[in-house]
Subunit: 95 residues, 2 copies
């Protein structure tokens, strides 16, 4: 598919369909450990800044694990960002 | 807009249009500090698990700052997750 057409909701749903049963059984604290590992891997990739493919993959992994955390906490990411960043009350000067 | 129609690319672009100049001037290490702060706020919201609106807002903030880090490192998040998670070579059993 064309990445430009990928909705946030469909990606979150894809992660749910593929992984949510396992992720939910592990629970939020355990899943947070995996998420943190991915955050660390992204930090390492950005700090070294030498491997574009690795940097892109680590960004993908962090987003996938953020979707996982959202799934097991029943959070609709697209709804959350629309409310915070795309509504009339969105922050103006900084996030 | 309907959150279900929100593409990941358009949200990343929105964050770029609104914040990228400032974010790029700050650079990756400084921006990582802000990102880390949001990660911590999400951890706190999930650990307390008492305020649904706050949990949703913290998820939104983490995603916005992930977009910021991607923007200032010239990473197309939708392209990255499509390549890693939605292609024929996507991981099967776990992320």
């Amino acid at each position: 598919m064309d990445p430009r057409d990928l909705t946030l909701a469909s990606f979150q749903r894809h992660i749910s369909e593929r992984y949510e049963a396992t992720d939910r059984a592990r629970g939020t604290p355990g899943t947070w450990m995996w998420f943190s590992e991915e955050i660390g891997e992204l930090a390492r990739a950005l700090a070294r800044n030498k491997d574009r493919a690795n940097i892109e993959e680590e960004f993908a992994d962090v987003l996938a694990w953020l979707c996982t955390l959202a799934n097991i906490n029943d959070v609709d990411l697209a709804g959350a960002v629309t409310k915070k960043y795309l509504s009339a009350k969105a922050p103006k000067g900084h996030k």
